[in-house]
């Protein structure tokens, strides 16, 4: 299902998720001399997903730094630059390649503050693309933000809307500790209203994207659009679903989805990661721990099939969450209890 054609309020200025991310970087680079961007092909190429297109020309090669294909070195250099007083934005082309820098992110960025007894905080922002859906097969289709959300010391953000794409970067740069921002590849071309002035957004709380009374659908990032589509399908069947966008995967804002489920008494969690050990599992466990008596049915989950992502389109689609799968899971939960 295409999300690029979602209706935009007439009369509002519109832009894409990609443009919102770029505008956020441009704004940050103008506001703070300590901010710079570094990563593979962020400069002359304009960013593998064209997010930083034009920034090299505007800010020059000191602040828009093309790096060699050395993920561990340039992520670690981002950590060092942050320790040295800068405010780096490190772009890792995709989450798939972030595995080559996982040691730096886990053993240095997330750990230095604690190991040093509170002496060395790491004000680093790392942006990366995540997710499947573009027939890139097993090595380029991971959704591993749930792995990063496992790590104490990191803040994990998943902007799913234009306003979040525009607004999350600045508070992330103001955070004294490392922040990872996951941009789902299917969202870059999504158009929407651009708030003017830009909406103030926080990087602490989940948001209710669609209010509803009968069922809570909890999701984030790339699966938000299809979850909203599923809510439409359910509405046609007389079910009023509430949609919670987690936005912040760590620290997880439990209160917002707990409050929702205490009203609706039913929940489905949608997560593009693999089901076992997933973020959806964590949300489900928290609902069981803290809202057991409020639930009228077991919590449902819609995750990716536990296979390396296949190339062929019909196989890939079969592996991924879809609006139909979410609606079907919702129907089961509604029938349960």
């Amino acid at each position: 299902m295409s999300v690029g054609t979602r209706a935009v309020p007439t009369g509002a200025a519109t832009g894409t998720y990609r443009e919102a991310l770029r505008e956020a970087m441009r704004d940050a680079l103008r506001r703070d001399d300590r901010v710079f961007l570094m990563g593979e092909d962020v400069g002359a190429y304009g960013g593998a997903f064209a997010v930083s297109l034009g920034l090299l020309e505007e800010f020059g090669p000191d602040r828009i730094r093309d790096t060699p294909l050395s993920e561990s070195a340039f992520v670690g250099a981002g950590i060092g630059a942050a320790l040295g007083g800068m405010r780096p934005i490190v772009e890792i082309m995709t989450v798939n390649f972030s595995l080559l820098a996982l040691d730096q992110l886990l053993n240095n960025a997330a750990t230095l503050l604690h190991m040093s007894g509170g002496q060395y905080n790491v004000p680093l922002v790392v942006r990366m693309t995540t997710g499947a859906g573009r027939q890139l097969a097993a090595q380029h289709s991971h959704s591993l933000e749930g792995w990063y959300a496992h790590i104490p010391g990191l803040r994990i953000l998943a902007p799913a809307t234009i306003d979040d794409a525009r607004g999350m970067l600045w508070p992330a740069l103001e955070d004294p500790d490392p922040v990872l921002i996951f941009e789902h590849g299917s969202l870059y071309n999504v158009s929407g209203a651009l708030s003017d002035p830009p909406a103030e957004v926080d990087i602490c709380h989940a948001a209710i994207r669609r209010p509803g009374a009968d069922l809570t659908l909890v999701t984030y990032g790339g699966t938000l659009p299809l979850t909203l589509d599923a809510a439409q399908l359910l509405a046609a069947e007389g079910c009023d679903a509430e949609v919670v966008d987690l936005r912040v995967l760590r620290p997880l804002d439990t209160a917002t989805f707990l409050e929702s489920v205490r009203r609706t008494h039913r929940a489905v969690v949608i997560d593009e990661g693999w089901r076992s050990g997933s973020l959806a599992a964590e949300v489900s466990a928290r609902l069981m721990e803290e809202a057991f008596d409020d639930l009228d049915a077991p919590v449902g989950r819609v995750c990716s099939a536990e296979v390396p992502m296949p190339y062929a389109r019909h196989m890939e689609q079969a592996a991924l969450p879809s609006a139909d799968k979410v609606a079907e899971a919702a129907r089961r939960v509604l029938a349960g209890g």
């Binding site: 790096t67 070195a73 250099a77 240095n108 040093s116 509170g118 905080n121 010391g153």
Partner: protein, 345 residues
């Protein structure tokens, strides 16, 4: 392509020499005390001793100023002491006390001191190299110099001293980091402490090219091998390298040929080294080499040596007493310092 820098003969000022001797003995005796305390179970976890390698830290750190930065390894007690972290605070850290430099959260492998620009202590082999490159990048960007591909160097930068072992040179991060530093001509000096073993694996069993300086030289980085058992040779080479880096010549690499006299860690039964090899290296004990030279020059006699040993023993005794009297951090503070206090609401 690479050169072995000899010690400049006859250049040893006796005052400096005596300070070096004192520093090396501080490290040696401190490490010996730590080994004893470990066997008494006062210290736990991993403990990697620097015994045999003292000339490397003493000779290289001589070239640094307080505004420079230091990134070290899990075998960093010597650098930490030389950087000025009080011995008692280091030992309290080993005891896991709140008075330790990391409030008992780091231990032997993870010593930090923000006021002294000491950035660890790192338990992951080679993981400090990218961080050192980033610190040098920050230094360059804040000094107003350029620091990007094709730019000339910048004069007057503070320098980042990055320590790592021969084992780290087999890691991809070494190659990525040296390349990046050279590409951006950053003010970092790479001090490779080649003690001949990556834990228990001999150099020739892990490197097809055992001259590690050649690897750095392939990235267009000036790279020299240095006798790491001779503190004069180390100090001379380090001074030359650090001065060049400070003057904008870009990163430099020193391969300091040394040897650890003790096992890799307190867990290591040391089955993989030939006893004769150990004895041959012990015959070149860096402390003996320097002490003999000072005696020949008439700058040191038995009484002088005793005086230094007594001073060091007193410092160690005070440090042990301090650590013994230290308090455990409250368990109520277990989750402090995971994120910054006063950070995001």
């Amino acid at each position: 392509m690479t050169v072995i820098l000899p010690a400049p003969r006859g250049s040893l000022g006796t005052g400096t020499g005596l300070l070096w001797l004192r520093d090396m003995l501080r490290i040696r005796r401190f490490e010996e005390t730590c080994a004893q305390l470990y066997s008494e179970t006062k210290i736990r976890g991993f403990l990697h001793l620097y015994i045999g390698e003292e000339a490397v830290a003493v000779g290289t750190m001589e070239a640094l100023t307080p505004d420079d930065s230091v990134v070290a390894t899990y075998r960093e007690h010597g650098q930490a002491l030389l950087r000025g972290i009080p011995m008692k605070v280091i030992l309290a850290e080993f005891y896991g006390r709140a008075e330790g430099c990391c409030r008992g959260r780091g231990g032997s492998m993870h010593l930090f001191d923000r006021t002294r620009r000491f950035f660890g202590g790192n338990g992951i082999v080679a993981a400090g190299l990218p961080v050192a490159v980033g610190l040098a990048l920050a230094e360059r960007m804040q000094s107003g110099g350029p620091g990007r591909f094709g730019d000339p160097g910048h004069v007057g930068d503070n320098v980042v001293a990055c320590y790592f072992g021969d084992g780290a040179v087999a890691e991809g991060e070494f190659h990525e980091s040296v390349n990046l530093a050279a590409l951006w001509r950053l003010p970092v000096v790479f001090f490779c402490e080649n003690n001949q073993y990556a834990m228990g694996t001999a150099l020739a069993r892990s490197h097809s090219q055992t001259n590690l300086a050649i690897k750095a030289a392939s990235y267009e980085v000036p790279a020299w091998q240095v006798d790491g058992m001779d503190v004069e040779a180390v100090a001379s080479a380090a001074a030359r390298a650090v001065e060049a880096v400070r003057n904008g010549a870009g990163p430099h690499f020193l391969e300091l040929l040394t040897y650890r006299f003790r096992a890799h860690s307190m867990y290591d039964p040391d089955r993989y080294r030939d006893k004769g090899e150990i004895e041959r290296w012990r015959a070149r004990d860096p402390i003996s080499i320097l002490a003999d030279r000072l005696r020949e020059a008439g700058a040191l006699d038995d009484a002088g040596m005793r005086g230094i040993e007594d001073d060091v023993a007193a410092e160690i005794a005070a440090a042990v007493a301090f650590a013994e009297a230290g308090q455990p951090e409250s368990v109520a503070d277990l989750t402090r310092f995971v994120t910054s206090e006063g950070g995001q609401p």
